[in-house]
């Protein structure tokens, strides 16, 4: 029978993995709840980092590597980060070849400065880079759908992995339109995005990234890593149903942070960190905003018309639409908001999890960003991660078992799988506790209090999804308790300094319903 690889999630990571496999004549099933146009990849704004050295600043791959390692506070896997940075220039080129209109001047790609990077390294398409990259990827993926190598299963939802002797033999999928379950044989790549739904309404992400896939995998024995590292992006604004991102590109192109003292602008980041203060890594900026504890503004009034017209016109329009203010003339009130999850499914350099045949790529995987992700490295990580997972599978195809009819296989996933309507209220309680507990500044007392409240939530007769979400919430909290230091996005007021004995990733697993931290 034909070899099939199952990919869950059709954003940039999933589509890239699918195309990499299809180019090698391997059949792919691409499952997603919604079409790729709805994926969170579309929301990425500022750009994609690659040491192309287009700006005459003597940039090179090693400096990209150094900045990424430093930004992540030296706990990301150095070999993986090296691969990411080495792979970046060819990704920019591949994207160009599938038609991405990178911002160019005089025939050359232009790169903008971004946070935590010493050189101008971020390639961009206005402030809609994710959308433009995703569109080109969707069109290119369609070519392989037409040839039959990629089969899309839209409106299909994850219901569990099928594991035999610690080997992933397939995936269980629920068809939202038909209301039926099906098992599909073959290796699996999870590209399900970040855990936004564990903090609903409080992130810049989508409502489709519920966090349940990560939670259910955790409950099925998949190890997770670095859950305590949650990126608060310094410049977000509250709109009605969520937090809206104001891209780091605003500061990359000259925007400045300030607070007002008797109507006088105080540029607190520049005062403390010098000229490049506004472009410190996101963890540093968000922590400063939390510590000064004053209403903070983004001042873009000094940007010239060329920048507004040719590089940030989309951002300006978005601010006008949602805040009814023109950032070219007015200060914009901003505050840190949850934007990215550095932690997630633990993967090795091949993007394989602790379960053989199960891979993860994109934001759902804890891979390249350590304790804090640099802006411009998430689009890169999604594309590079998707490619790497696919290539690993290609190299070891004969390792996988294919079972003709997995529907005959009995599994333990047949009970009540998904959240019931009655559980939705309990889920709100759970996410409220988690949001309160996992703020920018944390301490042992409040973390323990949060954990205690989570432990009081009843799980008798609960669905698999709800039990899993509760265990994930506890795991996130326990990761934060166990790291008794401050590093990157994890700020402990009771342990304000970093401590070398914690200079490594956290690993968490569920064994006999008990959360084990390594």
């Amino acid at each position: 029978m034909a070899v099939y690889v199952n990919i869950l999630g059709a954003g940039l990571a999933g589509m890239t993995a699918a195309r990499t496999l299809a180019k090698n004549n391997i059949h792919v099933r691409l499952f997603s709840v919604q079409v790729s146009q709805r994926a969170q990849s579309n929301l990425a704004e500022g750009g994609l980092n690659a040491a192309l050295n287009m700006m005459g600043e003597d940039d090179d791959i090693n400096q990209h590597y150094e900045d990424t390692m430093k930004g992540g506070c030296y706990i990301a896997n150095p070999d993986m980060v090296k691969g990411l940075c080495e792979g970046a220039p060819s990704i920019v080129d591949e994207m160009k070849r599938i038609g991405v209109p990178w911002h160019m001047e005089n025939g050359h790609i232009i790169q903008r400065p971004f946070g935590g990077q010493k050189k101008r390294r971020t390639c961009f398409c206005m402030s809609s880079t994710g959308k433009i990259l995703t569109t080109a990827s969707i069109d290119d993926t369609r070519k392989y759908e037409d040839s039959g190598l990629i089969e899309r299963y839209t409106h299909h939802k994850f219901a569990g992995i099928l594991v035999n002797n610690n080997k992933c033999i397939g995936i269980k999928i629920y068809d939202n339109h038909e209301g039926t379950y099906n098992n599909y044989s073959g290796p699996v790549i999870i590209c399900s995005g970040g855990m936004n739904g564990m903090f609903p309404g409080r992130t810049t992400g989508t409502t489709s990234n519920t966090g349940s896939v990560t939670a259910m995998l955790f409950n099925s024995g998949v190890k997770l890593s670095n859950l305590e590292f949650i990126q608060y992006h310094p410049t977000t604004v509250r709109i009605t149903d969520k937090r809206m991102l104001i891209s780091e590109a605003a500061r990359g192109e000259g925007g400045r942070l300030c607070y007002l003292d008797d109507d006088k602008k105080v540029s607190f980041m520049e005062d403390k960190f010098g000229e490049r203060g506004n472009l410190m890594p996101r963890d540093v900026v968000s922590k400063e905003i939390a510590l000064i504890n004053k209403t903070t503004y983004l001042d873009m009034t000094g940007l010239n018309s060329d920048i507004w017209n040719n590089r940030l016109s989309d951002l300006r329009q978005e601010i006008i639409d949602y805040l009814h203010k023109d950032p070219a003339y007015e200060l914009i009130e901003v505050a840190p908001g949850i934007h990215y999850f550095m932690g997630g499914i633990k993967v090795d350099i091949n993007h394989e999890t602790n379960i053989e045949g199960l891979y993860a790529a994109g934001e759902c995987a804890a891979a390249y960003h350590g304790a804090n992700r640099l802006g411009g490295n998430s689009l890169l990580g999604a594309i590079y991660g998707g490619k790497t997972a696919a290539k690993s599978i290609i190299k070891s195809l004969d390792r996988f078992d294919y079972i003709n009819d997995l529907n005959e296989l009995s599994d333990d996933l047949n009970g009540n799988i998904f959240l019931t309507d009655d559980e939705k209220a309990k889920d709100i309680m759970l996410t409220d506790i988690l949001s309160k507990t996992m703020g920018i500044l944390r301490d042992e007392t409040s973390l323990n209090l949060g954990l205690c409240e989570l432990e009081n939530i009843e799980t008798n007769n609960a669905s698999f999804e709800f039990k899993s979400r509760l265990n994930l919430a506890k795991a996130i909290t326990e990761c934060a308790i166990s790291r008794r230091e401050s590093r990157g996005a994890h700020n402990r007021t009771d342990y304000p300094e970093s401590n070398d004995s914690y200079k490594k990733p956290t690993t968490v697993s569920l064994v006999n319903n008990e959360i084990i931290i390594e």
Binding site: Q34, V35, Q37, R38, A39, Q40, N42, L43, K96, R97, I98, G99, V100, P101, W102, H103, M104, G107, C125, M126, S128, K131, I132, T135, A136, D139, D140, R142, K143, E145, D146, R152, T154, H155, N176, H177, T206, T207, S208, I239, T240, D241, K242, M244, E318, D321, Y322, D421
Partner: protein, 220 residues
Amino acid sequence: MKKILHIKRQLNSNSESYYENFVYESDNENATVATALLTTPVIWEHSCLQKKCGACAMVINGKPALACNTRLADMDCEIINIEPLRKFPVIQDLRVDRQALMDKLKELKVWLESDSINGNENISYEASRCLECGLCLEVCPNYYMDGKFGGMAAMTPLARIIDKSSKDQHKELKKNYKKGVYNSCGKSLACRDICPAKIDIDKLLVKSNAAAIWNRWNKE
């Protein structure tokens, strides 16, 4: 602010539809139809909630719109009529099956067969912004599902491919553009006003017509 959401519901694609009212009260003047729908058990597609993904397309007080882009305070009436898009089959409540959009793009071969040429970056950028939400098809007098015409939801992505394609693809693109867009567009341009991404449709049409109809392709 108090609004009554008068929502057309349907249990599944084969069942009869019915209307149900939900009361939404809030002092948040920026609350949208999406904000209100999130408080109901009604089934609808949503994802980004900031008009960047096109998921929440529906018909609000007779007008096709994104729920996340429709402020409740902007509507004078207390009762808000909410229905699913009419040109696509209903799956449940406000969720419709827009697969026909994707199938049309496949039929018209909307992809680059070989490496992209440089082309016109502005055209390509503009065309890449399409959300594939389907609102343009809902208001189009010439579009119906399974017909030959792909509407603006096909013209926009095709404009990118026309701009970026090399010569070996021109013949087929020309045929597909004629068949899927040019021959059936009645130029009502209702799509232009309804597009939530405010895509400059005129610019794309002019450029694509010039290339695919009048053979003035990008020379490279």
